[in-house]
């Protein structure tokens, strides 16, 4: 399970290629730190490997995504193992994150046994606090009933499962954009959720850092593949006045980032399998690639690692 990573640990210091390879094979997470209202991200592998303690920050939390427990096809025949490796990485962090955010597609087919496996494996994680939003794979046949029963216990969820909470002065908003999708359309939040969102942020000061998380990107990544949310503009309109807004998504199984004014959009990698860069394949289905090709493909996702003094920020400056 963790052999690959352990072996890797004993080798050279992390370099970009090696790191990308690790990410690709092992699945990964992104650690977000909040300091002075500005979010910076740091890769898990980097933290674990360098052995550097986290800088003094107000808050740190971790995003994982798209574990797809139950998937067993060519692109990754053992997604449970790679999910475990991702958790090992979290456990190896010198300073554990305050909590995790899972941005959806916990399972492949919304099966109870898939959720069971996920829950069982997650028990090994030192960090126990996890906040979820559903992916379309988690709500396949029951409109998300099972998902809601299992994963919303610690929040005051509304409607089909959206909610907000505060941690250390940061306002977190978990949104659902994978239900009641319309023919020909994209991800969707819907009027009820949008009205709730407007009211939810109304009383907040503009200097409150806001973190929004949802499965499907809340920006239009590639509509031809459904990689976007039809009414996300309205949601972002309610957040316009805030000085720091960070939008964390999954769904597309690759790191992409865009900064627009005070809003940083970021998509996380999957812990299960990669998907092609927008428009580079006939469909967005699981990407089957040999190990040696994998690195270069991930290298083409236009991710730049900009090293700061204390943090390795992930900023995709090439995404227009």
């Amino acid at each position: 399970m963790s052999d690959y990573i352990s072996h890797d640990h004993e080798h050279d210091g992390i370099d970009r290629r090696g790191f990308l390879k690790c990410m690709a094979w092992a699945g990964t997470g992104v650690l977000w730190t909040v300091s002075g209202g500005v979010l910076a991200s740091k890769t898990l592998a980097e933290i674990a490997k360098a052995g550097t303690p986290l800088p003094a920050t107000d808050l740190s939390f971790l995003q994982i995504s798209d574990s797809h427990i139950g998937f067993s096809k060519e692109a990754n025949k053992d997604v449970t193992a790679t999910f475990k490796i991702a958790l090992d990485r979290i456990n190896a962090m010198p300073t554990p994150p305050s909590f995790l955010i899972h941005t959806g597609d916990i399972t492949q087919l919304s099966k109870p046994e898939e959720f069971d496996t996920f829950d069982e494996v997650l028990k090994s994680c030192r960090t126990k606090d996890v906040f979820y939003v559903p992916g379309e794979h988690d709500v396949l046949n029951d409109g998300g009933k099972l998902y809601r029963e299992r994963y919303l216990k610690r929040v005051e969820a509304k409607g089909s499962g959206w909610y907000s909470f505060n941690k250390n002065g940061v306002h977190f908003i978990g949104l659902v954009n994978v239900l009641d999708l319309q023919a020909g359309g994209l991800g969707q939040l819907g009027d009820e959720q949008l009205e709730w969102l407007e009211a939810d942020v109304k009383g907040l000061g503009a200097d409150t850092p806001v973190v929004v998380f949802a499965h499907i990107p809340l920006w239009t990544v590639y509509p031809q593949w459904g990689w976007g949310t039809s009414d996300s503009e309205r949601a972002l309109g309610y957040l316009k006045r805030f000085g720091s807004v960070t939008v964390l998504n999954g769904h597309i199984h690759q790191v992409l980032q865009k900064i627009e004014g005070n809003v940083t959009f970021h998509t996380a990698m999957s812990t299960a399998f990669p998907q092609p860069s927008p428009g580079t394949a006939p469909s967005p289905g699981p990407m089957k690639v040999p190990a040696e090709k994998l690195r270069s493909l991930l290298g083409l996702t236009n991710v730049e690692y900009k090293q700061g003094k204390t943090a390795l920020a992930i900023i995709d400056s090439n995404l227009s």
Partner: protein, 121 residues
């Protein structure tokens, strides 16, 4: 208006609360096997229904088969026939064409995927 008639084998009982315009349900979800000789087949591949538009005669069977590694569904836009459950790789879903007309459908997991069935007399 009578419409396409569908039935999901496993959930036939559960789903027997039919839509107002539907009569008997007659479809099924199963793993792809031999396949009927004269069936009208729609292959789901690369996140698309092929053919995207299918003409059939009333009373004929229509079978979708998922050849992707992603789960897909078959859902009538106007709720004119029973929707399929999520079809995993190589699973099939069959309905029987009802009254003549044009029926649009989509995949509720990937709503960009749409298709049309034209039922002729």
């Amino acid at each position: 208006m009578t419409t396409l008639i569908s039935r999901i084998r496993i959930t036939a009982l559960l789903c027997s609360i039919s839509f107002s315009s539907l009569s008997a349900l007659a479809g099924e979800t199963k793993d792809a096997g031999g396949g009927g000789a004269m069936e009208n087949r729609i292959e789901i591949k690369d996140f698309a229904f092929n053919p995207q538009t299918l003409k059939v005669k009333s009373g004929e069977k229509i079978t979708w088969v998922n050849r992707d590694e992603e789960p897909h569904t078959v859902v009538s836009v106007e709720k004119q026939f029973k929707k399929s459950s999520a079809l995993d790789t190589d699973q099939e879903f069959t309905i029987t064409a009802g009254a003549p007309g044009t029926y649009t459908y989509f995949c509720s997991v990937h709503p960009k995927m749409t298709g049309t069935i034209v039922v002729e007399k």
